[in-house]
Amino acid sequence: MEYLIHLAILFAIYAILGISLNLVVGYTGLLSITHAAFYGIGAYATAILLTYFGVNFFISVVLGIIIAVVISFLIGLVLSKFSGDYYALGSFGFNIIIFSIFLNWRGLTNGALGIAGIPKPEIFGVHFFSNTMFLIIAFIFLAVVYLAARFIVRSSFGRVLKAIREDEKTIQVFGYNALYYKLAIFVISAGMAAVSGSLFASYITYVDPSTFNLMESVFILVIIILGGLANLRGSILGALFLVLLPEILRFVGLPFDIAAQMRQVIYGIIIILLMLYRPQGLIGEYKL
């Protein structure tokens, strides 16, 4: 049972990441591959504030969001000048730069040594020490993020985003400042990713830079492509699938010396097959 709760918490974390990235990639059409950076900012914010300064978890979440918002605003300003493939590459670049900061600014993040012993959340005297209790917090956050995303998507703001995705030039003709919208959604999505990071930090109790590299951003991208772009429930489904997949493969008794690598092979082949035969993902409504 504990094992399943553990998986459920991981699922919630990735679902939040997926939903937030989908807002940018699926609804606005911007291929951003730097999400792990904001995930990391939230995680480190919580790690540092909780472990060194004894700040309350929920306050650290808010602070993490603020920091992520500020940094994503600056990154977003630069990225907004690009489009299509170049946007993706530029975002790669920012991910690597921020990862380098996590790794090398040892005074702040302790670098490769990481920050250990991050405490579990606590509020009004209730200490969330058990996994089951943590799961409840994780799911509450997931619900909040999902509802917020759904609200955005269904509003007129969301309609403009989709219009930008379909044809940016035309929407500008109608007087909409595309830059403002692109920047806004990028920043909102970064803030949500930071929430995931805070959950991660407190749950795993240890953070180090290795979690927030380029491949992690790619992983989150695969989640939403698999689940289906421009479909929030799809991101949830995608997260469920990709969190469970390595666990399912654990049980497929492969010979041990190649088991781990075989999982990667299967993973890669699944991606290729998906692209070949079902690029809209499981329940998506937008093909990349």
């Binding site: 380098s100 690598q261 990667q264 993973y267």
Partner: protein, 286 residues
């Protein structure tokens, strides 16, 4: 000291050149970022390891095999994955993600076959032939990399400009639809382009294997540097990739000199971002 720094930059640039040349060629024809390009370098390197060291065959023969093998794999990728996708009018992003899947799978297969141990291809590990140039030092292998890079650049440039084949590639690069209408068998030509580009990548991996060494995971790193070089120099332009590669080599090494080695990757990508902001077409493109 200064001259060694310049030499280091040139050496680094030479390696990036090889990766950029292959990548640029393929990008020019297909217009998508083939992330699997890098892993073909590993394929080339490991082929030579297998034929040259494990089986003990003649090293030149093994190198030739490695190049061909890498080329064939690239060709195969196109034929079985990218081509079907292109036929379905898949977007550039789908191709990118598919190439990512290919990268993951191939890298893991190499690890299964050869383990993840870092291998060096060079035969005589102790005494390496070195040359003194203006007070700096360059090894024989590095000189070979440099010469190979320039040679391939020249050959490619000549092919693209003066042969029918080259002009066909340029036509496809300018507008694939029109090329097809005009009667060019674009699928076949692109297949050849993949073979050549991947073969060059394989060669890059082999040479890197001789200079330092190879691991199954070197692919993505090399590729990203190749991409930076290509964009900075001018994407789709043969000379562009080369210029960008050397510029990248210089910026990285001067960055290490002035700042510190651990920031090398960040510096490389900062260069990319600067160019993307101020000159996205790159140096060579108008």
């Amino acid at each position: 000291m200064f001259s060694q720094l310049i030499l280091n930059s040139i050496i680094a640039g030479a390696i990036y050149t090889l990766v950029a040349l292959g990548f640029n060629l393929i990008y020019g024809a297909t217009k998508f970022f083939n992330l699997a390009h890098g892993v073909l370098a590993a394929v080339g390197g490991y082929s030579v390891f297998f034929f040259g060291k494990t089986l003990g065959w003649n090293i030149y023969f093994a190198t030739a095999l490695g190049i061909i093998f890498a080329g064939l794999l690239g060709y195969g990728l196109d034929k079985f994955v990218y081509l079907p996708l292109r036929r379905r009018k898949a977007s550039k992003m789908i191709l990118l993600v598919a190439s990512l899947g290919a990268l993951t799978a191939i890298q893991a297969i190499i690890a299964i076959l050869f383990t993840s141990q870092f291998r060096t291809l060079s035969q005589n590990t102790g005494a390496q032939k070195i040359y003194e140039v203006f007070g700096g030092v360059i090894t024989e292998t590095q000189l070979v990399i440099l010469i190979t890079g320039i040679a391939i650049m020249t050959v490619l440039a000549l092919i693209l400009k003066y042969t029918m084949f080259g002009k066909t590639i340029k036509a496809i690069s300018d507008d694939e639809e029109v090329a097809r209408i005009v009667g060019i068998n674009t699928d076949k030509i692109i297949g050849y382009v993949f073979f050549i580009g991947s073969a060059i990548a394989g060669l890059a991996g082999i040479l890197v294997g001789f200079d330092t060494g190879i691991q199954p995971t070197i692919g993505l790193g090399l590729l990203l540097k190749g991409v930076i070089a290509s964009i900075v120099g001018g994407i789709g332009n043969v000379y562009g990739g080369v210029i960008g590669a050397f510029l990248l080599g210089f910026v990285e090494n001067f960055g290490i000199w002035k700042i510190s080695g651990e920031w090398k990757d960040a510096i490389a990508f900062a260069l990319l971002i600067i160019f993307l902001i101020f000159r996205p077409r790159g140096i060579m493109n108008k």
